[in-house]
Every structure is written in C-alpha cells, then in structure tokens.
Symmetry: C2
Subunit: 327 residues, 2 copies
Amino acid sequence: MIIAVDGMGGDNAPSVVVEGAILAAKEYSGLQIILVGIEDTLETELSKYKPCSNISIQPASEVVGMDEPAAASVRRKRDSSISVGFELVKARQADGFVTAGNTGAAVCAATLILGLLEKIERPGIAIVIPTLKGTSILIDAGANIDPKPVHLLQYGIMGEAYTKYILKKENPTVGLLNIGEEESKGTEFMKETHRLLNESKLNFMGNIEGRQLFTGNCDCIVSDGFVGNVALKVSESFAEAIDELLRRELNRNVLTRLGAALSRGAFSAIKEELDYSEYGGAPLLGVNGICIISHGRSSAKAIKNAIRVAAESVAQDVNGCILKAMR
Amino acid sequence: MIIAVDGMGGDNAPSVVVEGAILAAKEYSGLQIILVGIEDTLETELSKYKPCSNISIQPASEVVGMDEPAAASVRRKRDSSISVGFELVKARQADGFVTAGNTGAAVCAATLILGLLEKIERPGIAIVIPTLKGTSILIDAGANIDPKPVHLLQYGIMGEAYTKYILKKENPTVGLLNIGEEESKGTEFMKETHRLLNESKLNFMGNIEGRQLFTGNCDCIVSDGFVGNVALKVSESFAEAIDELLRRELNRNVLTRLGAALSRGAFSAIKEELDYSEYGGAPLLGVNGICIISHGRSSAKAIKNAIRVAAESVAQDVNGCILKAMR
C-alpha cells in the first residue's frame, strides 16, 4: 500500500511532517510513503534521519500558504504539493493522501482532481471525537461552510456508513447539531434539514444540543461545517484552558503539588483520551479517493497516526461502503 | 431597588427559583424581590422557609413551557409569568426581571413589552465567560439565531459598552467569532459583518477562532446567535465530560485517590472558576429595561447570582451606557 503525504503542509512543515513520516515508515513497515513537496527541502529534512527504504519523494515546486484563499490558490498553483498529492491518487500511484496544509485548498483540490462519489454533491470532513462512551464522529467539521440541507442529509448517510463499517458500531444513531432538541428549534435551514433526515432511512434520533457532544449518546453528529468547525475549536480552547488552570492550581502549595504528583497518571490518561493527535486526521468523505485532513498544528505523532488512518481507510474500502449506503 | 423573578421558569421551578430568591433576599437585604407566578404554588414553596419581609408575590396565572414555540406562546399566554414580569418592569413597579424560563419566549416578550433601545434592531444575550486572563463576554449567545450583519455590528457596540462600563475594562478589544483569522475567511455573511465592524469606531481586532475563546485575548466576542449558543453548550459538555473522566481516573487506585484528596482544593477552585452558576445570568442587551436570562438548569445559587447581576445592571445603568455608545 502506498500513502502520499503533503510534505509542505501544516504550521510546522516540513520538519514535523517528515518526522511523522519517518515514525510511520518505521512502525508500519509494509507501507510505502511518498513525501510530496519541494525536493531539496524534503531531502535536507530526510537526511537528518537514518535512510528509510520505504520513504520516497515526489517533487512539487509550489506551496499553498496556510492563509491563502482556497479556490484561487488551487487554480493558480497547479504544481503545489496539495495538487500533486491528489494527482498521485488519481493516477493510482498512491492509495491515499494525507495533508496538514490549508484545509480549504485541500477540499477544493480533492473535489476538482479526484471528483465526487456518485450522488454526493459536496465532500465533508468527518472528525472522530472522544466521548464518555467511546468515540463518535462529527461531520462536517468545516469542508463546506455554506451548505444546503441536502448536503447535510448526504453527510448523515456518509457518516452513518463510516460509523457502521469503519468504527464497527451496529445500527449507529444519527443526530443533527442544533440549538434545541424539539424539531421546531433552529433556523429554517435546520428545520428543513431535520425534515430530510427524519424522512430518510437513517436511525435518526433528532436534534441534539452542543451539551450532548461528549456524552457519547449520538454516534454520528451531523453539522453545518461552519458550526462544526467552531464547536471543535472551542473544545480545543477549553481543553487548553483547563490544562493551564490545573497547572496553576496544582502548583499552588506543597500539598497540591504532592497530590498532583500522585495523580499524575490520571491526568495523562485523560490528556491522551482528549488528545486530537491520537486520532491523527479526519477523513474527507465524498471524494473519489482517500484523503485525510490533519490539523495545521499537527505533531509528528499526529502525522504518523493520520498515515495509519489513511492506510486503514484504504484497507477497509471506505468509499465502497459509502457507495453501498447511497444506493 | 426592586427585582422581579420568574417563579415558574427553569427546569427545576418553582422550588429552585424560590430557594434562590430566599438566598438573595437574605444576602442583599436592601433588595425587594417579587416572585412572579401562580400564587398558590409560590406561597406553598415560600412557606417552607422562614418569612422574609423583602419577598412578595405577583400573581400570573399562566406558565410558558420550556419547549413551547416562543412567539406563539407569548401571543397566546398574556398572563404568563414571563409576560407579567416584563409588564412590571415596563410599569416601573420593578427595576429589572430575572428568568430561567424559555429563552426564546423571554426574548420575544422582552422585545414586545419593553421595546428596543434607540437604533437597536435586535436584542442579544451577552454571556460572561471565564478565561485565562479574567472574564470576557460573548454576544449573542442565542437571542437571534438568524441575524443580519448589521445586528452583529450593534452587538459589537453594545458588548463593548458593557465590557467598558460594567466589567471596567479600558479600551476593550472586539473580535468576530469566525472559522479563520484572515478577513477573507468564512461565509459571505461573515465577510460583510467583518467589513462593518472594521469600518466602525470599535477597537476591532478582526476575526477570532473558537480556539481563542478561553485565552482571554479578546474582551468582547461577537457571534451569530446560533453559533454562539452551540459554542457555549459545547464548552459545558466538555467541562462535564472532563469532570466525569477525572472522577473515573482518580478513583482508579489508592495512590490516585490520595492524590485527588490532596489536590481537592485545586479542583474546586477550577470548578468554581468555570462554573456558570457563579456568573448567575446573562443580560439581554438592547431591550428598554433590565432583563437577565438564566440557564434553564440554574441552581438556587445561580438564581441568587442572577438577581445580583440584575441589581448591578440597574445600579450601573447599563442601558444609559449603551445609549451613549450608540450615539
């Protein structure tokens, strides 16, 4: 199996991405990894490590900046690492592509180059979220920030398929992220989406509120991409704030410091459970190929895990499952 | 000073609301409190406590359910505790009104009965949020879920005035909750709102992302009511999930239990800092009178604090400050 990785994408590229690729190449020795990007730069980074026979470089002369407008940059920079990565997937020279680069550009390039699966009108980012009862997914986490109700119906179908076949949950529940539980709640957009989901064959449990996000009562949370993106970033912010507050409070005196030392294991366990880097990356569902979107701030470990998620998605034939569900 | 309190509003009304009113009546002895609602019910609840000379009852024969459609319930139930409460404020028989009832109905009744301040087209809920650097506010937390860009500009002006005159921050920064920092990010709605805020006299720092919500870098966060509501409920969910995870982990063995016991003070301090009930209630800004919206799940302590916030808002002339800022 061959996974292409955007060597130039992410806040700390290329160093962190190359480190992540090295970690993955060592841990998953059956995998071939292609780093896509500016050849000299990637070679210099790679030379810092012992040679790895299952890593190669695919040159791409351009880089899309993290803040560039998505569509324009994809149109202008045809030889960017993002576009070249998707071209490799299209030409079947790679089975999947991982990028921590500009999300908007990745979504746009994936749609243009790979095309969409039959009956899908917009791709959506499905994020795995840790909950009190295992993991759930939220789709869309920001691929499509101005969706139509029918797009959210398609996200529900794709998300249910992902939850069922990839996360192996039987008869997963699907909920709509809204500001109240009753079907009369929310904007006209939300009411229409609720109606479409309710009339579908999905195991639709109705609207769910933000406060149910981490309870684990809903397996597949369907969301407007704008709202989903804000919701996830707010959770991140909150986790970081609590971490900082705990550090401050636990350093307050010798007793709390002793207490902190004794319960350190508990904190690490929770941090690990809530750590997005453990989950690696989020599949972009709906495009005709495997694409994993990683956080711009990804660590090497997150990149390694994203490569694993890409390989699993290929092995488990995510898109075959979605096509089956769309019939 | 006289504060009216919706005796029938909230998931645990009337018992918790009456308890909160009793707590406030004892702690703020200079305050007169009017409990609004079904007379018999409120009298029965009050009879459980020692008589309090500064609590009285204003009868209202109807109750708006927590899940009733807002506009229709306000139109049909003219003698509801929510409507009667606002009528008291309008008739100057009360200086402010606190309700933990149906938020939509409260916003609708406030708008209809009290009317709006000059040049304000929609009221907005301003929530005080705890951050790593003191408190910030987020406006709108759900009064107006389908706003126009100009409404968000007005929220910025009202929020800045609140932050400056009530929270006593000098030259507060105003940010727009969006999915990226660059002005090109977000929907057309967000781009237009960004333009309006940028052209205003506000100390506008541009777009902020969800991950900056709890850092305290932005004093007044302007948000679409739908997005703001989801963001806050997601934070609540996350806080509850962490709390539960900590409990599980800290009970794991005798060492972690000892550690937890030693550092208990640290956890309580953080819980208190993050506890919405400490902040009591959120002012509904833009209506021509003082209205404090409390969480449906409010505890007696939260109701007590909401009554305090109402009294402070009256004393500090919030609406005079907003009118000055709107000039």
